[in-house]
Amino acid sequence: MTGQESSKGKTGGIAERLVGFFDDRLGLNYEMLRPAPQYSINPFYWLGALAVVAFIIQGVTGVMMMLYYTPTPTQAYASTQYIFQNVSYGTFLETVHLYTAYAMIMLAFLHMMRGYFVSVHKRPREIMWIVGMMMGFITLGFGFTGYLLPWTVVSKSATDVGIGMMSALPPPIANFLNFLVTGSGADSAVILRFYDLHVVVLPAALLLLLALKMYILETHGVADPARGVESLTEKKKGLVPIFPDVTFYLLELAALFGSAMMLISIAFPINLPPEYSPLVASQYVSQPDWYFLWIYQVLKIHIFEGPGLNIALGLVSVVFVALTVLPFIDRGKSRSFLVRKWFVTLGAIFVAEVLVLTVWGLETPGKIIPNEQAVLVLGGTALLVALFSAGTYRMVFRRLPKTGSMGTGSPSVTVRAAGAAPAVDPAMTSSLKKAGLWTSGIFVLLLGAGVFCISGAFSAMAKVIEGGLSAGALVSFGESMAGLALVALASSYLLYRLDLGSGMIRRKVRAFEFGWRWKE
């Protein structure tokens, strides 16, 4: 299907003639978009594209639900209930819409973090990063506005909390936002504005920014891998035509993602919570949806009560602003992992903190967090991650030459250090790379589980403070011990696997060899 179009479709099969037809009239041809490098045919490079696929699914399911939904306070819940009960496949639609929303937010976050760790925000892609951050904010806005629309107890109370938070921002911003989302403040105005934002304004803004981002992508192409182009095999550097290879890859990923969403929706269909009424709402603890829970958890710390709320919001805003203008903060020229020690560590701390805050928020609904506990948990997490990062950099990365070709996409993988030994043949490198992927994958999993379990230590302390040595506290403590063990296991596994430069450890534990042929 990558036929020659220079003859403009005079020869060739049906496909060529069709393309020639559109090329003559519209300029649409096989070469419109620049081809993709072979190394980018890899799911990590397509997280953003999957977020767009999720957005399309949202659009389709959303439009179908719009046929039945009425955005007024009296009819919002009834019409949503109608969709659940009386519309063909209504429950399926609603469930898919909700889970795909969660997936879109998660994919956007993963896309951002991958970009952060691989330093795509360096020159010349600074503006692309800022555009991407705005799209991320819009995605969060989708979640916020959409959540209110069913008018259930949980959603209305959560949105009230969110609107209250908005009012605590500095007056010019707060007034503008308040006007935008609440208008006169009456329920009917609020829900209508949220509906308009969710269905018209935010999708239009997202599509415009998406077009801009795609244009910038066309200008620059896919970013080189962080470890540098020299370490790639010739095959990996080769270019892949957009049509049909890259198109099919996109369709493949989209199909897998779509089927995963649908099968999950069937396995775990959702139920509609009760309708909002002040009486019923008084029995529910109002919490935002999980993607805002980390912000909410910060606000629940004791020191930020009352007038301190502004300070808390200021802190959260600082984080968001810092992420947005990251290209101008992170001015280092190098994209290598080894050189970007501080930023990599900072990024890891950020991810760990968000994770810990979210889980913590799920476990402590409605409770104020004492200051000491906050310092322990948050500071402890940061300290742990920093120590781990420092240890990894010192023990593992120090051995490797600090050229531009070293350093990879995650703190655990440096198996591509094989690239430093020029005598290694390419076949070995590719199998080592597969080994590297497995190593990093298992390591990240173990580390994640370990960090999660270690948070049990802090919750154990909290339980002990609350109610003395109880079964719950012991369980949490046991969790934390398991977490420490997991981290230790992960570290030793990592060290063993990575110690291929000198082979020192390997030679000592030859019994655990899995059959790798290592040529010294």
């Binding site: 045919i41 063909s88 496949y89 429950t91 399926f92 892949v240 290879d245 099919f248 890859y249 369709l251 493949e252 990923l253 199909a255 897998l256 779509g258 089927s259 649908m262 099968l263 929706s265 069937i266 269909p269 076949a427 590719s430 199998s431 597969k434 059959g515």
Partner: protein, 100 residues
Amino acid sequence: MKRRGSIPWSATIEEIGERLIALLLVVEAISVVLLWTLNSYTSQGQTAFALYLGVDFISFAMMSYLYRNLENEEPISRLLVIAGCLFIAACFFVGFALPS
């Protein structure tokens, strides 16, 4: 994966690749036909619908994977192919086993 003794296996996949694509196309066609003829609106019907749509998507994804790698002579992961086929079979089985 170029492991010891593993090279003959990927060659087998290469050989049957086209037949596998044809088979997957048939599976996809069957699932589309079922999707359009499924008329029940019950919750069982929803489950079956989602399962067949999932089969449609996954069989296409497998076809695309095989096609791309066959065209570019890249190695095809046996594990993925087998896992995918098993998954499709499981979805079909559950879809038919559901009382409608």
